[in-house]
Symmetry: C2
DNA sequence: TTTAGCAATCAAACACAAAGAGTGCTAAAG
DNA sequence: CTTTAGCACTCTTTGTGTTTGATTGCTAAA
């Protein structure tokens, strides 16, 4: 049997199982879904369907006399084919509106508020990562001296993001040197992506500036550090909530969770791999020794027009309430764009 | 019996029990400490001592036929009276030296490196909190305009800390306004602690500047936000390591741990309450429903002369290796001061 | 004061039975 | 051909009683 060709009843059975399991976190028996969910068959009939759904890999059986549990594939089919839109309650809508109403100076703050709100409404752990360095265009680089031996570098990007760093030197730095720096860096980097501040760029700067190698080295080092940090910056919210989930009774699951949150590279890869237009659902595979085994990640891009302002996501159990989460995300995503439009126009 | 008047043998027995428990995480039986630890008595003798140590509250008994476990009071006595200095291995010393050698631009970075190193050597979770706002003296406030409607505020404090924030306005701001701001804030705030940027100060500024109430409000709001953030800033390292501890097999303990890390106010209170000169040991009380029940916190102040540069600490199980942790902390604390001396002199 | 000896205590481990949940299969009914 | 009732079978969970082993507390002797 082709996996796509589920007859209507089997679809309903799968859907009922997934939804039941999301609610109860217990294996679902054939008897428990004979009524409701648009079904009205005997448990024997359901059982036959279940056996087939298992044989094509959509269901798992913890052991003979337990019910069935959706497999990662089962969840995927459910999310792609069976999920029906959930509607937010009026309170939820009001709550979100109220939260996103705040005035912010940096887009980054707005992303954070949205991430926090998402966690508050869904009760899952949420995460925000900034846009990658190659997506951020430098609008201005400004060097400001703070006393004789201290210099601040400010980088303003088109995402409204402003990054600063302080550099201290062993030697004095003059105002004219600061001017040179401002000229040099701006003519060279304005309009380029953040990621352009790299080795070739450093070499060029070195070739242009013949004095104070020490100063130049310190500057380039520090700027590289900002870019690096910017590329690896992860904001986390509501991690503690996850520990109330029933799956966290298993120490193994809890440990996988903290390992997952700690594996920033893995997280960044997932968060940056999603499609820009859509809500992306990553359902943890069944691989026994993956951190992701028990979890799913759902992400969406915070955008303004075609500007990438970073990715916001949720990390929950595979058994998470996909319909609700996706509905909340869609709403927040829409609101973020509305608000941004207003801000642009102001 | 007075708690302080333990005879020599009882001290040794208590010490042996604590150390054995630290090693094994299992209740300690009378039989297991008849030899070694400077003891050479029969188990019956040890048993008598144990019974008395229990009656004065230094030991607990999970149940009749288990061994004994130190109580919070027992740990306290051990730490205050019995602990003998541990020595670091040559490798450990080298490792720390190497890590702290790095050149930093902000003291904050040095604190972070020290905190990370502390976690790496001890394998416990470590934490750093910055100095409180009333301990940080403002050396300069600088307003820098970034385009017509964007202003950056930089605050340099005597701890070398530089805080920046960006403020966006709905109206244009002129260079002369920026000059006024610089004058006003600097004459008023230079030499004052960060915490002085408060309501009375805001009122004063309002009374002096008669134009652009909107701009002034935005500025004061933002500055308050920095100070607030600065006061609540917690840096955490190695939280994941704790999950390998045997005590984390109990979900209750794991949950207490994440709750503890999440309860920033509680953490800050503990971290800020320590004595400046010393290494401070907070041993979790026996109170059943406290987050701290299973944990101890050890802190020391990162200082330079009499300047408070923040507090660094460790959060581990009550059963943690106090001798080792304290030894490492003492060494790092000393090194931080040495390095700072060098940095001051450069 | 210390220790040997021993009964008493209690968790942990084991074994076994019974109960309960749920399946898979078969054969009959629709 | 699809659906369903019926029932044997499987496997976990729960309960119970038993044994084992660790460890203590007490007593009486060294």
């Amino acid at each position: 049997m082709k996996k796509k060709d589920l007859d209507e009843r089997k679809k309903k059975v799968l859907q009922a199982i997934v939804e039941e399991y999301i609610n109860t976190a217990e294996p679902v028996s054939s008897g428990s879904i004979t009524k409701g969910h648009g079904l009205d068959y005997s448990s024997a009939t359901i059982r036959n369907d279940m056996a087939q759904l298992e044989s094509i890999g959509f269901l798992d059986k913890p052991h003979t006399s337990a019910g069935r549990v959706p497999s990662a594939e089962g969840y995927r089919y459910y999310v792609n084919e069976l999920l029906k839109e959930d509607n937010l309650s009026l309170e939820e809508i009001k709550y979100i509106q109220n939260k996103l109403k705040i005035k912010v100076n940096e887009i980054e703050d707005l992303t954070k508020v949205a991430t926090t709100t998402l966690s508050e409404i869904t009760h899952y752990t949420t995460v925000a990562v900034g846009p990658k360095a190659d997506k951020q265009i430098i609008e201005e680089i400004k060097f400001v001296s703070l006393g004789q031996r201290m210099l601040m570098v400010v980088i303003v990007t088109d995402t409204g993001l402003v990054k600063e760093t302080i550099i201290k030197f062993d030697e004095d730095i003059t105002e004219s040197q600061v001017d040179t720096l401002n000229n040099l860096f701006n003519t060279r980097l304005r309009g380029k992506p953040l990621s352009k501040i790299d080795k070739p760029m450093a070499d060029y700067i070195f070739s242009e500036v013949h004095y104070s190698i020490g100063i130049m080295k310190a500057i380039i080092e520090q700027i590289n550090k900002i870019v690096e940090e910017e590329n690896n910056n992860i904001f986390l919210e509501g991690a503690k909530k996850s520990f109330d989930l029933p799956e966290f009774k298993s120490m193994k699951v809890a440990k996988n969770f903290v390992n997952l949150l700690d594996a920033k590279d893995e997280m960044l890869e997932i968060f940056n791999s999603g499609d820009a237009e859509d809500i992306n659902v990553f359902i943890g595979d069944d691989d026994e020794n993956s951190n992701l085994k028990d979890f799913s990640i759902i992400t969406f891009k915070h955008t303004l027009g075609d500007k990438d302002l970073g990715t916001i996501g949720i990390i929950g159990p595979k058994r998470m309430d996909y319909a609700k989460v996706i509905a909340v995300m869609k709403y927040i995503s829409k609101k973020l764009n509305e608000d941004n439009d207003k801000k642009e126009g102001m």
